[in-house]
Subunit: 215 residues, 2 copies
Amino acid sequence: MADYKLHCFAQSGHSYKAALMLALCGADWEPVFVDFFNGEGRTPEFRAINDMGECPVLVHGDVTLSQSGVMLDYLSKQFGKFGPKTEEEHREILRWVLFENHKLNSFQGIYRFMLNWAPEQARSEDVNRFMKGRSLGAMKVLDAHLATRDWIAADRATIADVACSGYLFYPREEFGWTEDDRFPNIEAWQERVKTLPGWQHPYDLMPGHPLGSNT
Amino acid sequence: MADYKLHCFAQSGHSYKAALMLALCGADWEPVFVDFFNGEGRTPEFRAINDMGECPVLVHGDVTLSQSGVMLDYLSKQFGKFGPKTEEEHREILRWVLFENHKLNSFQGIYRFMLNWAPEQARSEDVNRFMKGRSLGAMKVLDAHLATRDWIAADRATIADVACSGYLFYPREEFGWTEDDRFPNIEAWQERVKTLPGWQHPYDLMPGHPLGSNT
């Protein structure tokens, strides 16, 4: 049995943060597929492991964790990797983990869901436009931040970089972005993230997508 | 000059988390009014102190902080109050700080803004309905969590309670809630929060609202 079990599904950028961290740390882990699009997150069985009803959930021995930011903090301590070295770095990492939760991955995740997988009756042009605007606003903040640095919160890759990766490696067409929606500093940073040993694409790292290798 | 300066405005629930924490810690602090509704968050002067363009910003000596969750963590260490005692408490506190950022205060803040202060051309029934649904969903999660406990993350008040207070003490009518939108466990918890020494209403703690005492 693997040391770590990650309850997740391929399309979940919040799950990808934890899956990527496990991969980058070289952890002994395995994914457990959650059929989220068919309502598994609302079942009593799933609520029993996460009262917030969200993916991912990470199980390590008798420790069960929800919230990807908690997992990144926990794994950085378990493996002694990608964590802060000083209190100042701790604050800067936490700042970006909160930002990506609140603004970057939150809006991107909702927008992408509404665009691709929401039931017909729940779709709305207004909501999509609103979410796209919020999502692009957050991208602009991150792009400006990366204009003068290689990594988000320190002089090396940290869990802030893993956290902000959440939805950024999914195919552009899933976001309905036009050719004008370009973020050169984010794209350059993504190329650096891809060079980290162990990096894999979300569709290869987590189960449930027909195009992925882990299905 | 006060030890701490908090750049904020009365209607900002994200600012209220930091203002409430300063009040509960008995800090020597003063608010600096940010005219957010008139675009001050987008000015180069404000972006120079916070590249994310958000309120609040906390200044303490040569330390300048953005993201309310970072401030709560920082202040809990400065004052030795409302922080975790164990790693398990640390994880549980962080879990709720991330949840309130991502789901609770995020959706409540946007929904309330769109309902009350958004320019006419930006308003949309669809967006309001969507945000209200998301906001009530997050309230249900917190209400269920509080059914069996007095405080959110430990056997006493912690920064998780301060964080979740963000938008909850603003007048109900600002959220367009009906009489059916009741959360008895949250309401009972709010009464406990109010008994914490130093507690004050957001409109009294921060400047910029005509009904507040701090204008």
